[in-house]
Symmetry: C2
Subunit: 334 residues, 2 copies
Amino acid sequence: MSDGPTVQHLATMADVWDAYRDDLVEVEHQIHQSIHSDAPLINVVAGQIFSSGGKRIRPLLVILCTRLCGAIPKDAIALGSLIEFIHTATLLHDDVLDEADLRRGQKTARCVWGNQASILVGDYLYSQAMAQIAAYRNHNINEVLAHACRRMTEGEVLQLCVNDQSRTTEVEYLQIVEFKTATLVAAACRVGAIIAGASLSEQEALYRFGLNLGMAFQLADDRLDYMADRSRLGKPLGQDLRQGMMTLPLLHLLQYCTDRERRWVSQLIRSRSIQNQDLADIIALMHHYGSLSYAFARAREYVEAAHLDLEPFPDGLAKRALAIVANYMIHRDQ
Amino acid sequence: MSDGPTVQHLATMADVWDAYRDDLVEVEHQIHQSIHSDAPLINVVAGQIFSSGGKRIRPLLVILCTRLCGAIPKDAIALGSLIEFIHTATLLHDDVLDEADLRRGQKTARCVWGNQASILVGDYLYSQAMAQIAAYRNHNINEVLAHACRRMTEGEVLQLCVNDQSRTTEVEYLQIVEFKTATLVAAACRVGAIIAGASLSEQEALYRFGLNLGMAFQLADDRLDYMADRSRLGKPLGQDLRQGMMTLPLLHLLQYCTDRERRWVSQLIRSRSIQNQDLADIIALMHHYGSLSYAFARAREYVEAAHLDLEPFPDGLAKRALAIVANYMIHRDQ
């Protein structure tokens, strides 16, 4: 990166994409190389899902954390790609679980090739990642990623249980977000540190950094489900609500609205038949009670905590880029 | 085992279960300890599927192979239980993929708790197994099991592709069986050898032994789908056929029957609407062309190969037990 941009030139996420373009091109190359299977269906389904966008935030974090800890990102590119495999596997299963038809503005794999293909290619990507990770013969990396995968599935199951209940506490909700989303982001950051041979305290600091990023990302995402510009992210407005998913804005609303409003909202969620006018009314209530601002404020707290996690590390391009990625978690709609 | 039975007393599978009862009780104990999760749904679904039978062939093989190579089976019990987790995860996903309502004579998890729970608890068991296996910090074990898991999902995907086609070759079919079923059995045997610190050639011999067992098991199972006493195994007769699954008896029939019969059978499979009389007619054709005898003969060949794989090992209780398990693969209905 010696001939690349300086810290002063790195201001926005676009600058980060630009500064690390070579590494990210390598990530794409690795992903498409690792997909290859004897089963044509895998190549087609996985090829389609990897070509349909996705910002490769997790590979980028592995690369940046490796660079932050002073190493070149050769293994970071390969391991980042495998973490993207794990992430993609969860998306394929999520789409089946949520009966989702759209992701990133395109038809989901389950919509095009059916639930069977979506489940199986998810299983394949996951097992392919685990096999290639095992081949690195690094116990710390094995353990961090195996732990993250376990946590992710626990989070999914907890969420399934919670959605069947009428009341969820904020603590339960935050635990689900941590398990489902944040642990894999945290693991990506820690893997970057492990590759670079960083100290245990550096590994732990970057794990916490990733955890905070993951929490911020999900809380911001939950809020976007109720924002009018949601369509920009390729999902329909109010999708979480229609699926009965208890997210932070909804939990906040249910806590602060009147008993009468609570009964109406709860009954609407249970009905699983929410009209556009109902959605507009709920969003109006959320604005009235400050539920969307509350979710955003909580997301911002996690970003601030993430900035603190970076403090012990030496200033430079990688640290600056990581700080920009942290801010980007809550400003993806801008 | 010093006060236990002698080689002369070991004649049937019942004797084997009896001789290794203590080890198998420990396996059950480990399985139920490892299930435990904070999510009640996991405990209920996994608890039910592990309580609903299952012969624990894979844990038994780990234990016997460890003993065959001269070690006590402490780690074999734990790792055998985790391999049973992986196997059970595939059953939970298979039931969703096959839309199966019955397994081992009982309602499937997806029937009782829904597809979501079945997919997620499968994901959980798999990731829980991988996390606990990683904690052993043994690269050979990691690699053997990660490779087996990858192969299993590749086999599932290959099968999905093949079922969409009107013609499958026997070679393709045998590859699917090897990937889907035999590699995990082979991995179980090899893990037993690794735990005992066996030589590479011993590890490879027991891997081949397990591969042969797995092939024999599946071919015998495919044949049972067309046998009148199939109900004893808790699945309805002709289930594979109704799902359009191309198994060895059907492939043999399609190869040797007349063109007219072939058109009739192919059209029936595509229709996915097979009446009992159709099934009876197909079974009669299979008897006429020797398709069921052929599948059994192929299964028996694998058992014979498995016996050869055992030859280099010292005689004794474990070797005798493994030989009985090999025979049991094709005589489970007796």
